[in-house]
């Protein structure tokens, strides 16, 4: 029997759903705006541990999410979402219409209660506003997926075979590799966005990734656990052939996993990283800077944090205290440092329109050391009086979108990375990212590296395990005195934000950089 939930489903329902949204907006009393996201995916995945298969699956997914803005005296938003299945396909417009009415009821109820409190809360009610979205151009577009080997054309047996083969190879790499886990998944997804403003975006994309976890125990009993991810918005070919693009260079997954095994084994024999107690010269490689830019530039540049909307969860941003006190136009980094977000860059963070149908654009966050802009949504853009720049995205259609990074990077510099190291009399080279912890408004960070090398007289010396760097974000950024010309981007497969938590795939990267920070080892 033909599988009913498939990518082609969107073709069959696109026009009906678009009309439903347009008609509903006209029909529902005091309704100002409606939008709908419907997402279909077809996915295959397999897992293996220590050379043994654990699972494999070929499955599909269908979900939708609705936003309604409505109200008599004041406008308020209401949302509704569901995960759906095969049984919903034939009656999909009716299912969505039912959900739309619930979203509308919530908006109307909230609108009424907001109006009551506008006066009831005295002085404090004045900041309650009638929900607004900054205007955008209503676009209609269809974007196909990019891949050489469709995720649907590879058999589940082949996926399982490769998964097990890699797990076996990692297990037998060295007797000090004690445990390994391999996950491979490949999928084709399609999302339709339609709004009552006549935006209609139909986007298909492939997504393939391999995750590897290795636990190694050295001869003296030191244990190291490391994980890494290879992924792109491409087809099966990235696992077998790797990726060779201008800024994304990843080996085929077998080699990628074996490299991780090799690192884990050498680290299990390494000495623990010392702590410097004071600032030292630190050179960070593009992979470490992938997590660094993510945490201390990307996240605080999300305007919902700046506007306090994430105070209870992901935190605020030290880039903006209020409309009169903020870092816009002010120096936050050395003039050598630039950073930006660009959804049109390739990789996990690539897209052309966000989940409000806003066409995307590159946003400079730091322009030669000067803080210059936030990622935003239509609502936050309206609050700040800015133009929407297309950074409102959800991990799935059933979640309400949030302001998320697309691909956020440190800008490329001009220096040869080798010369950046060779100039250092004494310092440390941090290679590969591991685990972060950042303070609530992103003003301080501690991020561990996979490997830490001591630099003496311009050369890499001893390698240490369990080390990283810690600094106040501004102090570190201001200390940067060399930026390399070797920009690389890497996938981040699990950025968490929102209530409920949404784990989002996105991209980050940067070149080699040199600055000053405290080196921090472990206490265990």
């Amino acid at each position: 029997m033909e599988q009913k939930v498939n990518i082609a489903l969107i073709d069959r329902v696109k026009d009906k759903l678009s009309n439903l949204i347009l008609e509903s907006k006209k029909k529902l009393k005091d309704c100002s705006y409606v939008d709908l996201r419907v997402a279909v995916s077809e996915r295959q995945a397999a897992t293996a541990q220590d050379g043994m298969m654990k699972s494999s699956i070929r499955d599909y997914g269908l979900s939708y999410g609705l936003r309604v803005i409505a109200g008599k005296e004041m406008l308020a938003p209401g949302y509704f979402a569901e995960s759906l299945g095969t049984a919903d396909v034939d009656g999909l417009p009716d299912v969505i219409e039912s959900g739309l009415l619930q979203a509308y009821e919530r908006a109307i109820a909230s609108s009424r209660m907001k109006s009551e409190r506008k006066s009831g809360w005295e002085d404090l009610g004045q900041s309650l506003w009638s929900s607004k979205l900054a205007p955008i151009k209503a676009c209609q577009d269809t974007i196909p997926g990019v891949y050489k080997i469709s995720p649907l054309d590879i058999s589940l047996e082949e996926i399982s075979r490769l998964t097990q083969e890699i797990s076996k190879a990692v297990a037998s790499y060295d007797s000090r590799v004690k445990v390994n886990g391999i996950l491979i998944e490949t999928s084709l997804a399609r999302q339709l966005f339609v709004s009552s403003e006549m935006t209609n975006i139909d986007r298909t994309y492939a997504l393939t990734q391999g995750l590897c976890v290795v636990v190694a125990v050295g001869n003296s009993g030191n244990q190291q656990t490391h994980y890494d991810c290879l992924g792109h918005q491409r087809g099966w070919e990235i696992l077998t052939d790797g990726v060779q693009e201008e800024f994304i260079k990843l080996k085929p997954f077998m080699h990628f996993a074996l490299d991780l095994a090799a690192d884990s084994v050498s680290l299990s024999e390494a000495r623990p990283c010392p702590s410097s107690g004071k600032d030292v010269v630190v050179v960070t490689d593009p992979n470490y800077n992938t997590l660094l830019v993510h945490e201390i530039i990307g996240h605080p540049s999300e305007l919902d944090r700046g506007l306090k909307m994430e105070t209870a969860y992901a935190g605020r941003s030290w880039f903006l205290r209020n409309f009169n006190q903020n870092m816009l136009g002010k120096q936050v980094a050395s003039h050598l440092v630039s950073a930006y977000s660009d959804p049109l860059l390739p990789g996990y963070g690539h897209y052309e329109y966000d989940d409000e149908g806003t066409p995307v654009k590159r946003i400079m966050h730091i322009d030669k050391g000067i803080f210059s802009g936030f990622m935003n949504s239509r609502q936050t853009a309206a609050i700040l009086g800015a133009e929407p720049n297309g950074h409102f995205k959800a991990a799935d259609a059933s979640y309400v979108p949030l302001i998320r990074m697309s691909t956020t990077v440190f800008g490329n510099g001009e220096r040869d990375p080798q010369s950046i190291i060779s100039e250092v009399d004494h310092g440390y080279y941090l290679a590969g990212h591991r685990i972060p912890s950042i303070s609530e408004s992103r003003e301080n960070f501690r991020i561990t590296a996979r490997k830490v090398y001591e630099i003496n007289n311009g050369k890499l010396g001893e390698m240490f395990r369990d080390g990283g760097m810690m600094a106040n974000s501004k102090d570190y950024l201001m200390s940067v005195d060399a930026v390399g010309n070797d920009l690389r981007m890497y996938p981040i497969f699990n950025c968490g934000k929102g209530q409920p938590m949404q784990g989002k795939k996105l991209g980050n990267g940067g070149p080699t950089m040199r600055g000053r920070a405290r080196l921090v080892g472990g206490k265990g």
Binding site: A46, M52, M53, S55, S56, I57, D59, G78, Y79, A81, E82, S83, L84, G85, T86, A87, Q102, R106, A109, S110, M113, K114, R117, W121, D123, L124, S127, L128, V215, V217, Q224, T225, K308, M309, E310, T311, A312, G315, W318, R321, N322, M327, V400, R434, I435, S437, I438, S439, E440, E443, N444, D466, M470, K474, G496, Q499, M501, G522, K523, G524
Partner: protein, 519 residues
């Protein structure tokens, strides 16, 4: 939302269908229906805001089938699920996926089998929570905000801090959410053919409030098993705690005696201790307690139990998502690691692991009772028991017991110079779970203690802890009798944490000094 009887009927039909398939040697059917409703809150006095930002929900129902089939390669196990279809057609679709994806897993022993324990918790939730209307959901969120705004408006301290009496210029913030979880499930299998079912519903509220001009932040939270108990309490608590934190001071780097409040205790447990107390973490050599089952891992002051069948506690369930009874797992008793959270697969795996003794530190067979699989749950999607997931070990209600418990004021009086830590942020094992190294920052509700008295609030985001979980656990010197449930962002379990846990020494670093000049 689908009724329990619909789910029961679905698994019954699934079992009957599966028994007609000759290749199926064993099978399990799990059907569930979940509704997750939230009002996300966002109020700012100095920036346009909606107040109730997102009244929203996600819902799902469906069936998951796990099968064991014979094949020329040996026993194969597979799993498949189908969303929004409890009929026989849905069962067929799930079964087809399970068959297609079945693999030979040499470590798979069997589907869950009776452990000899009996279910003890039935009919334990308020059915009116299941019938919450859209209007009721929205109203509940506004009620929490009313609580916070009421506290701000009624505060003399705040009025005197406001220039020209305009409270709005103080940069008042209220964020967080009200969450309603409605769960229903049914399960049956070849090994446990009687259809079992369960139903639960809880409400939690989680609020962060700020007086941003004074760098003051406070938290409020509440958990409810009854719809009628809902109030604005979490909001008013958050706001009051923010007001209490005005005029915060900076504290220099150093080692300090510490009293951890409920949220920090829950944060450390959720990110380091509980993950280390699972059989899977021992199997994969990742637990920070590796090789120490039956050994001292904490001060003898600490006794910590996972209690999944306790009536009146928010995380309780009648049965696990494997159809096994929930119960009590003593994790740490008098500082000794005494038990581990297990699901059936990991339980069987460690019992049959030739390196099991090396990993646990004791013979698995001698300690099988300590690893009884009472904790296999399918939590997912922000709450709910998912038919589309295989079970993993999860805690439910983590409770503390101590014969030496005292009150918070007595603990504070014992501290010469130290810190009452009210809320931690971004707590991670930075060098991997095994090493136990942790880092985290203080972000609210924290106070400097001097000469046995609270001296002053600590300014938000000015201290980082860099230490090791083993040092903290072994350094526990006192604990309060009284506890309260702590709600954590993104966590499935509820920790009924002591109001105070005293630790003799923790290392702090002063951070973010540049902010004094910036704002």
């Amino acid at each position: 939302m689908k009724e329990v009887k619909d789910l029961e009927q679905s698994v019954q039909e699934a079992m009957a269908f599966l028994r007609t398939q000759p290749e199926v040697k064993s099978a399990l059917a799990f059907a569930s229906a979940n509704n997750r409703l939230w009002t996300r809150l966002n109020y700012t006095s100095h920036i346009p805001s909606n107040g109730v930002e997102e009244p929203k929900s996600t819902g799902d129902y469906g069936i998951g089938i796990q099968i064991v089939v014979d094949s020329p390669d040996g026993k194969k196990v597979g799993f498949g699920s189908e969303e929004k279809d409890l009929s026989l057609e849905g069962v067929r679709l799930a079964f087809a996926k399970a068959k297609q994806g079945a693999v030979v897993d040499p470590e798979f022993q069997s589907l869950p089998q009776p452990t000899g324990e009996r279910r003890s918790l039935f009919h334990y939730h308020d059915p009116t929570i299941m019938n919450l209307t859209d209007q009721g959901l929205v109203e509940a969120g506004w009620k929490v905000l009313d609580g916070a705004i009421g506290s701000f408006l009624g505060s003399e301290k705040l009025k005197s801090a406001a220039a020209n009496g305009r409270l709005s210029d103080l940069g008042l913030i209220v964020g967080g959410d009200l969450t309603v979880l409605q769960e229903r499930m049914a399960i049956a299998s070849y090994e446990m053919p009687d259809v079992q079912s369960d139903e639960s519903a809880i409400i939690t509220a989680y609020v962060t409030a700020m007086v941003e001009k004074g760098d003051a932040k406070g938290s409020g939270y509440s958990v409810h098993l009854r719809l009628n108990d809902l109030s604005g309490k979490a909001g008013s608590e958050g706001a009051q705690n923010a007001i209490n934190s005005l005029n915060g001071i900076r504290v220099p780097s150093g080692d300090y005696a510490v009293i951890l409040g409920p949220q920090p205790i829950a944060e450390l447990l959720d990110n380091l201790v509980i993950p280390s107390c699972t059989t899977s973490a021992f199997y994969s050599l990742e637990s920070c307690f590796l090789g120490k089952l039956g050994s001292q891992v904490a001060s003898e002051v600490l006794t910590m139990v996972d209690r999944g069948n306790a009536p009146g506690l928010v995380g309780s369930r009648g049965i696990t998502c494997e159809g096994l009874p929930t119960g009590e797992t003593v994790l740490i008793k008098g500082g000794v690691l005494s038990g581990l959270l297990s699901d059936w697969y990991e339980y069987q795996r460690i019992l049959n692991d030739p390196k099991g003794k090396e990993k646990l530190g004791v013979s698995p067979a001698d300690f099988r009772q300590a690893m009884t699989p009472r904790s296999g749950f399918r939590f997912s999607r922000g709450g709910g028991r998912s038919f589309g997931m295989l079970p993993t070990a999860s805690s439910t209600n983590v409770v503390f017991e101590s014969s030496a418990g005292t009150d918070l004021e007595t603990l504070i009086r014992k501290v010469n110079k130290g810190i009452l830590v009210g809320r931690l942020w971004y707590t991670y094992p930075v060098n991997g779970l095994r090493a136990g190294d942790l880092t985290t920052t203080l972000t609210a509700d924290s106070y400097f203690i001097e000469d046995g008295r609270i001296k002053a609030p600590i300014k938000v985001n000015t201290l980082r802890i860099n230490d090791n979980i083993s040092n903290i656990l072994m350094g526990i010197r006192g604990i309060t009798r009284d506890t309260r449930p702590a709600v954590l962002w993104g966590a499935d379990e509820i920790v009924y944490a002591p109001l105070g846990l005293m630790v003799d020494k923790v290392h702090f670093e002063a951070i973010a000094e540049f902010m004094e000049e910036t704002y």
